[in-house]
């Protein structure tokens, strides 16, 4: 584990973008996210994504639907680190999901979709 600086690497006005069907979709300015927490975004077609920043300002996105309850709430969970990898714990029944892959850490074979994201300087 590297001790990266606590300041986000990108300027606050950088734009968070998510890759959908081969194209980059602009979602919001970086400033709308708090390191260690998530927000939800509405995607074309009605899907929802949960966007997160880890403490070093690295962005992640996974599907917002908690597969255990069906509720669209993963964006409201707490972010943590397990074995060096960032995860979010569902706020409902507390199962953890790897932010990079979407795999559930507490039940084999369960996963949510993970999206590619980037910070774009306008």
């Amino acid at each position: 584990m590297t001790l990266a600086p606590d300041k986000p690497l990108a300027p606050a006005d950088a734009e968070l973008q998510l890759r959908l069907d081969g194209a980059w979709l602009a979602l919001c300015p970086l400033a709308r996210l708090t390191p260690g927490r998530g927000v939800a975004a509405l995607l074309p077609g009605g899907r929802q994504a949960a966007l997160f920043l880890d403490r070093d300002g690295v962005p992640y996105a996974i599907d917002n639907r908690d597969p255990f309850t069906g509720a669209r709430v993963l964006s409201r969970g707490l972010v943590g680190t397990a074995e060096g990898r960032p995860f979010v714990a569902s706020p409902l029944l507390k199962q953890r999901f790897d932010l990079a892959t979407g795999h559930c850490l507490d039940e084999d074979g369960v996963a949510v979709r993970a999206y590619e994201v980037r910070l774009h300087r306008g």
């Binding site: 927490r37 509720a71 707490l78 943590g80």
Partner: protein
Amino acid sequence: MAATPATPTPANRPTIVVVGHGMVAQRFLEALAEGGTTARARIVVFGEEPRPAYDRVRLTSYFSGSTPEDLSMVGDGFLERHGIELRLGTPVASIDTAARTVAAEDGQVLAYDTLVLATGSYPFVPPVPGSTTRGCFVYRTIEDLLAIEEYAKGARVGAVVGGGLLGLEAAGALKGLGLETHIVEFAPRLMPVQVDEGGGAALLRTVEGMGLKVHTGVGTQEITAGDAGTVEAMLLSDGSALATDLVVFSAGVRPRDQLARDAGLAVGERGGIVVDEQCRTSDPDVFAIGECALAADGRVYGLVAPGYEMAETAAAALAGEAASFTGADLSTKLKLLGVDVASFGDAHGTTGGCLDVVYSDSRSGLYKKLVVGADGTLLGGILVGDAEQYGTLRAFTGSTPPVSAEQLVLPAGAGAPAALGPAALPDEAVVCSCHNVTKGAVRGAVAEHGCTSVPEVKKCTRAGTGCGSCVKVLGQLVNAELEASGVEIDTGLCGCFGQTRQELYEIVRALRLTSYRRLLDGYGRESARGGNGCEVCKPAVGSIIASLAPTIGASGYVLEGEQAALQDTNDHFLANLQRNGSYSVVPRIPGGEITPEKLIVIGEVAREFGLYTKITGGQRIDLFGARVDQLPQIWGRLVDAGFESGHAYGKALRTVKSCVGETWCRYGVQDSVRMAIDLELRYRGLRSPHKLKSAVSGCQRECAEAQSKDFGVIATAKGWNLYVGGNGGATPRHADLLAQDLGDEELVRLIDRFLMFYIRTADRLERTSAWLERIEGGLDHVRDVVVRDSLGICAELESLMADHVAGYRDEWAETLDDPERLMRFVSFVNAPGVPDPTVRFVPERDQVKPDLPLLTIRPLDDALEGTAQR
């Protein structure tokens, strides 16, 4: 098939009849079962009382909330499992030793092969005129207590005849019932049997300091009745009269030997059924055990531990094993009154050539005496005011302690050496005298039977399950043994921190750390530093920082800066998340009191936003089904109408429930609603290891259920009784009485200290009930710390609370004032005006409920799930 001789047929099975089903009889039955005798014999027990054996030693705890069922000593299914026949409410009237039969009062006659008398004692009532007047009681059975409790409802003053161990216990109980209480003792001091003059003086000071009125050196000459034929006054031997409504005789007990006497069995000159070392009476087929027996050493024992030993001796004799009872120790420790009094061994120094070492400080009600033999062995002692060392000292009796007696009596801080721990005890030392368990047996339970906690050791050895006075020493022994056997228990909070919550609290407080990251990077486990933490430690640290905020200079607002990232989702949105992702809204309604205007606002808000409305179990109103983007609008309306956050989402004070109290209720003795409101407003917003609940009742009838709360308050004629450690929920627990008859200020001061001490020392998600059970020394320790300030931290605890009270701000009002914070309350960061289409409702009973089937519909391209890779 040939009959197996090992299984006796009903015809050839011997019959053992037991008379009496008290504590000792029950122990006898258990010993019979353990020794296999129950399988070989028919066993019939006659009990006079209407209920099976119960814990008479803890009788008084009925007044602090134990139910008769709690006190039962008969394990579930025990009698059935061992085929024991119990005939309750059936006193035995006579014994015919020639025919070997017993006859019950109801006429039934039963033949026995072996008879065991376990009839206990009866309370001695001095033959003064008027002693049978209505209003006179004794203190021995649950039925006695029920009768006293009922009668006390119409009484103001009570008097106890007898200032011994039981008399003081009875007096404490009367006081707890709200009576002005007097103790009349013939001897020149209280507890004359256990303590000497010096100890009596210290005891008197403390007992009087608690508001009891003590009359020593006077006898009771007559009880006079008023016009109604009920007790009116007591005439005393010094010529004075004491006006009283109720009298409890507690002037000693006498063995119940009448049955034996009538049957021609030998009885002692001063009572008691004569038995030999095997507990056999003058008829070899008849045994006598417990308080009814005159043991081979010529004594009648009025304590339960010797009775248990007799029970095991008799059971062994019946099983054909060798055992004998030749005498026992008379150690005692006074419970209940809140005064520590203990005496053990040869307390009065009757051994030839013995010497006393005494420390006395009547200013603080402290008196300690140790009796030491010429060769330095510890023979016994008396402790008044501080019985902390009782367990260890008692266990050292009969041996030479490694520290001199002079050093042992000195109080801590007055040049006393490091406390003499149980580590120094020899293996043969008896740690639990109720069950005769040695230190070696306790160590064995850990080392050989794999016990890893005090409850497990209690189960395995029975140590600590009698009077409870040894539990502290037990805890120390168990820990020492675990450590010695190299069991390393990781007590760390989680994978990120090796420290306990309490240790983290101390680090945050001492270093004034207001940042979770600095705590993690500086004090976390090596592997966790620099990471994101986890869902366990983040809210726990968030709570620690919040409860210390004013003191360490952090913002009290839980959504400030980095703190926002630590909060559980409920705290983050200042509302409770529901199954479909909607939230509930719970405004604070202090004490459950609400004006019609405010009720109307709640109704209007609910109607306007289509919220499901329900009265909660906490005397307030919950509005369910708000979308995250509706929360600010809803709260805007509520805050305007004067409502505040109810913290239904936080590990914080929830509600202080109240009953209507003296303002309206004909029984009420204090204004319970006002007190509930005051307490709720004082502690609102206080973040703690788990949620905190409270209630205030206006009288003993307890309509507010205060004894099921973390801190509960019940009004008395003179003030308030404070109960702590109650719990409803999954593991209900009745609260323990912490202090009695407090004035308003004293009550608040004690609650301040109690809560801050809990917040400081509890584990994460540990309710006060579990904390009180776990913390070393239990209730006694907590009382020492918060009432007597034994750690000298009360001033600090009070100032922490004062900081909290001064720094309180309503979280919702603050949030509404800040546009930036409000930006968080949107369903979608990229579409602020759009509501979440999956949060929908369907009708039910004229209101709404979540549309759950909607959530089971998965997005169309969900087939990709499970294969997604980056």
